[in-house]
């Protein structure tokens, strides 16, 4: 078990090598904390998701920033899941505004448990509303179980383009190491890395069952910085209603 844990976290740490740390203009884009995706798709799946990131920092321009994403998603079959997000932000001393939208497609590549590692891939398109900035991203998703522990790794490559931004190719990664304690309560740890972000911190997740197909999946985490450009605290919360 110890060697497996070491191997999993080695992967995420190796990824740090070579990532830049220059600052862009929009402070929202400095924080890569979001969520860690699993590779699984269920047939007839429908869900509504609310995702909140709130960050605080000693730098006034990076402090008190709220990001909110609301989405609706559904599966086409037992392999493909489509999801559309509306994204809003509140910058320091400003009111909450609609920032952009995102369309996402997740494809489950292997059956859960078929191989030692389960695989999936996610394609994303995100577009800002007020500026000509867009992103195309591909994320490779891997998940593996070691007894009561589950490790999930997301490796992404994104291309930013538009007339309000210099075209750029960026890499990002996130990882989660979670203990399957109870269905409604699973503690874990998460790691995030991108052009600006290096963050790590505890996370709690769980599933609460309702009647019939109704299910609520929740996640809450607190990510602390590992470098100077990551906000001092990033609180993240996710609530997903599956029906």
């Amino acid at each position: 078990m110890r060697s497996a844990c070491y191997k999993f976290f080695s992967l995420t740490l190796v990824l740090n090598i070579g990532m830049g740390s220059a600052l862009a203009d929009n402070p929202v884009h400095h924080n890569g904390v979001s969520s860690v995706n699993d590779p699984y798709v269920q047939a007839m799946e429908r869900e509504v998701e609310i995702r909140t990131i709130f960050q605080t920092d000693e730098r006034p321009t990076e402090d008190n920033i709220l990001r909110q994403r609301i989405s609706y998603g559904f599966s086409l079959n037992d392999r493909v899941f489509l999801e559309a997000y509306v994204i809003g932000t509140r910058l320091p001393d400003q009111s909450f505004e609609l920032e952009g939208y995102e369309i996402e497609s997740k494809i489950q590549l292997t059956e859960q448990g078929e191989y030692n590692t389960d695989w999936g891939v996610i394609f994303e398109y995100e577009r800002q509303i007020s500026e000509s900035i867009a992103e195309l991203a591909t994320v490779l998703v891997a998940s593996r179980q070691w007894g009561d522990w589950v490790g999930t790794l997301n490796l992404g490559l994104e291309y930013e383009f538009g007339s309000n931004i210099e075209d750029e190719l960026d890499r990002f990664a996130s990882a989660q190491w979670r203990y399957r304690f109870r269905e409604a309560f699973e503690p874990g740890i998460e790691f995030y890395a991108d052009e600006f972000t290096r963050g790590i911190g505890p996370v709690l997740t769980g599933v609460i069952r309702g009647n019939g197909k109704n299910k609520w999946h929740w996640e809450a985490g607190l990510i602390a910085p590992l470098n100077d450009t990551t906000p001092d605290q990033s609180f993240r919360f996710l609530l997903e209603w599956e029906f």
């Binding site: 191997k7 999993f8 080695s10 992967l11 190796v14 990824l15 090598i17 070579g18 269920q42 047939a43 007839m44 799946e45 037992d78 059956e111 859960q112 448990g113 078929e114 191989y115 030692n116 590692t117 490779l140 891997a142 593996r144 179980q145 589950v150 790794l153 490796l155 490559l157 291309y159 210099e166 075209d167 750029e168 190719l169 890499r171 399957r180 269905e183 019939g212 197909k213």
Partner: protein, 120 residues
């Protein structure tokens, strides 16, 4: 950003990602001799509702849903969930498991669709 720089970044990213994924997927191979077990869903019941599988070995479950309505094979203990639409079949891989009893249920018919896998 110059096209050459994009290509350079892309090349470096692919090499790095390939190395990481190679490490992560070590021993990520399916067994060629995975035992197969079959169960059926009929009138919101599992048949058989209890069955034995070998310990410390991966097994493949083929679940036939004979009902016209969908069912979700689910088990927190097995860490598996699989929706099987009506009049179709689904595949679930489980294990390797330690000896013990692992309950499963049909999420869309919680009162009737109940079962247990006994690992020996």
């Amino acid at each position: 950003m110059k096209f050459a720089n994009v290509l350079k970044t892309l090349r470096h990213s692919l090499v790095r990602a390939s190395c990481l994924l190679l490490l992560f997927a070590l021993a990520s191979t399916a067994s060629a001799q995975t035992p197969v077990f079959e169960i059926e869903i009929r009138e919101h019941l599992f048949f058989p509702a209890e069955f034995e599988i070998p310990a410390n070995q991966k097994v493949k479950l083929i679940i036939y849903n004979r009902d016209p309505t969908p069912e979700e094979f689910e088990s927190y203990e097995l860490n598996r969930e699989k929706v099987i639409v009506g009049n179709s079949q689904g595949v679930v891989f489980i294990g390797p498991l330690k000896p013990g009893e692992y309950p499963f249920f049909g999420e869309f018919n919680l009162k009737t669709a109940l079962g247990k896998i006994i690992v020996k």
